[in-house]
């Protein structure tokens, strides 16, 4: 092998100047890979089943439209209104999935994001491609947030479809007792779905951080979901009221305030601030960990 042979011209000139479209290339690949997985589709299927079950149950329970009385406080107050207006199934379904099903699905996807790739060994090939550690982490976080949005929209859209099929639609009454048009109600439903999706941002960052700590996808998923359950329990213990405002799930149910007239913003804003804080803290921690980590898997 002579040295003359070994000095190929073109390859050595362009020493990796990234082209403008590449980041989207990796993100698109990541989105396709995530949403093509059987596991992702199964999670979305479970989420889609919740509004269907709730809608059918309410329909069977109330028989021929005799308005049922009572109903639990807070979010699920919506449930009593479903028989009058199918749109309330959207609010009910989001209130039913937000405490556990939605965050659990997000915990699975976020926890698996890095650890799952490490587990499969594909992480080392992405990094020698070279994906770049910061770029890969950002892509993973963006994909996890996309999953939060898609998962929430799946619940909302299925709820709307089932609500429209089984119940009448029309103008609706807000929690404050005022009437708003169906169109405005639909707008609020969309806004609520976006707020619910945004409520999951903090957990997504936490899950991503956990995912950088281990080479086992299962361990990362279990840890994230375990943290979710722990936080939900802590949020119920009255003696811990001092720390509760800092738990990522504390203001989750504030989305119901969007159904007041006028909208009561305080808790909604606090929720978004808290999510931003979690995203900043655990996002930075994930970055610090992942960019310094030895990739031995």
């Amino acid at each position: 092998m002579s040295r003359a042979e070994a000095a190929p011209g073109p390859a050595r000139v362009a020493a990796g100047s990234p082209k403008p479209l590449w980041t989207l290339g990796l993100l698109r690949g990541e989105l396709v890979t995530t949403f093509r997985r059987w596991r992702t589709l199964a999670l979305l299927g479970v989420l889609a089943a919740v509004p269907v079950l709730v809608g059918v149950a309410v329909r069977i329970e109330t028989g021929d439209g005799s308005s049922s009385a009572g109903g639990g406080g807070g979010g699920p107050a919506f449930i009593t209104q479903i028989t009058n207006n199918g749109l309330f199934l959207v609010f009910t379904a989001l209130a039913a999935t937000l405490p556990f099903f939605l965050p659990m699905a997000v915990g699975v996807v976020a926890g698996d994001a890095i650890a799952g790739e490490a587990n499969a060994g594909t992480l080392r090939y992405l990094l020698v491609a070279p994906a770049g550690r910061t770029r890969l982490l950002l892509t993973k976080y963006a994909t996890t947030m996309a999953f939060c949005l898609v998962a929430t929209l799946v619940v909302a859209v299925f709820a709307l479809a089932v609500g429209a099929l089984l119940f009448p639609l029309g103008d609706l009454t807000t929690i404050s007792g005022t009437r708003i048009s169906f169109a405005e109600g639909l707008g609020r439903a969309l806004l609520i779905a976006l707020v619910v999706a945004a409520s999951l941002i903090g957990l997504a960052a936490l899950g991503l951080f956990v995912s950088t700590l281990t080479n086992s996808g299962i361990a990362a998923m279990a840890t994230t979901v375990g943290l979710l359950i722990t936080v939900q329990i802590l949020d119920q213990i009255p003696q811990l009221h001092a720390i509760q405002p800092y738990l990522f799930s504390h203001y989750w149910m504030s989305f119901a305030d969007l159904m007041r007239e006028p909208v009561y913003w305080d808790d909604l804003v606090r929720n978004l601030e808290l999510q931003t804080l979690y995203a900043a803290v655990f996002g930075s921690a994930a970055w610090a960990r992942f960019t310094a980590k030895d990739i031995t898997a």
């Binding site: 100047s17 082209k19 890979t33 020698v128 890969l136 990739i295």
Partner: protein, 326 residues
């Protein structure tokens, strides 16, 4: 300081031309305390097919991971294509194709989709030519027919070839192949080796780790030998084999008498097997040794020095067999 630590771009470029990989006192101690690579000084010339030889556990994969920026050295430096690693990963790695500790694939994606994903991960890869490059890489490793199958349905040999295809998505200046024939049947091994030769003849430098001596002897121009994390030797394969002295072999029906005479003639380590007597050749002229045999009435059928193999070189260097793990 020497030429590799020069910082001017031209000098770095010239360094890249002359040696594709250059490490200096490269050391890795894992968190568990295991010293996996110990003060490695490695120089891989451009255009070589460089065999990185060592028994299991001798630190080959650890070295490769440091070269590819996957793990941080505990101390020492590594330069690949003239740039320091892991700092210059973004500039260096697009020119490097790698197969590290076996292939890793997304089982739920097809072979083609696996390559599309890996290619999308490279910021320098042009999305407009992606499809064509993926097809060409699949063709090169003979997987075109199976490209639409889910990767989990691939055999080990097919997975290995798909891993190689991922390393060949772009024209590369360096290919790093960590035990690429591991787990393959003889036919698969031959295929991979002929592919390596083909790539090398295109001018790509190939850095090939292996624990198989004959593999290195068959395909490599240069080699380095590792044992327990330390570099034992490096150089061209011909030099390494020449470094170990051959053995004097005498074929004779009078083996016992021949052995006695050879010992008299200062031949060390005399071994008799049937009609073959072998030993380490002495410093003196071998014609004298032969004459002494004939004078003693030994009927000599054959007399000569057998060329040493790389294995002899390894045994000579480490004083132990090659199978001994670190």
């Amino acid at each position: 300081m020497d030429e590799v630590s020069a910082t001017q771009p031209e000098r770095a470029a010239r360094g890249a031309e002359d040696c594709v990989i250059h490490t200096r006192a490269l050391t890795k101690r894992y968190r568990g305390g295991q010293l996996a690579v110990d003060g490695l000084d490695l120089t891989v010339p451009a255009g070589s097919v460089f065999g990185f030889l060592g028994p299991n556990g001798s630190g080959k994969t650890t070295t490769i991971r440091m070269l590819m920026g996957l793990i941080e050295p505990t101390s020492g430096t590594a330069r690949v294509l003239g740039h320091p690693m892991p700092r210059s990963s973004r500039a260096v790695l697009p020119h490097v194709g790698a197969l590290i500790e076996g292939p890793a694939l997304y089982g739920f994606l097809t072979g083609r989709d696996n390559l599309l994903r890996y290619d999308a991960a490279d910021p320098t890869a042009d999305p407009r030519t992606r499809g064509a490059r993926v097809a060409a890489a699949l063709d090169r490793v003979g997987l075109t027919a199976a490209a639409g199958k889910k990767a989990r349905a691939y055999s080990l040999g097919m997975k290995q070839r798909l891993g190689l295809a991922a390393a060949l998505l772009q024209p590369r200046r360096l290919l790093v192949l960590d035990e690429p024939t591991n787990g393959l049947d003889p036919q698969g091994m031959r295929e991979i080796r002929s592919l390596v030769r083909e790539l090398a003849s295109d001018g790509t430098t190939v850095f090939l780790s292996s624990h198989l001596l004959d593999e290195i002897e068959q395909v490599c121009t240069h080699a380095a030998v590792m044992a327990r994390g330390r570099l034992v030797t490096q150089g061209s394969v011909a030099e390494l084999a020449a470094g170990a002295r051959g053995r004097l072999v005498v074929t004779t029906p009078d083996a016992a008498e021949a052995a006695r005479v050879l010992k008299e003639q200062a031949v060390a380590d005399v071994v008799v097997t049937d009609d073959r007597v072998t030993g380490e050749p002495p410093e003196r002229d071998l014609a004298e040794v032969n004459a002494a045999l004939v004078r003693a009435g030994v009927r000599v059928r054959g007399f000569g020095v057998e060329r040493a193999s790389l294995e002899d070189a390894f045994v000579a260097l480490t004083g132990e067999g090659f199978d001994v793990a670190g």
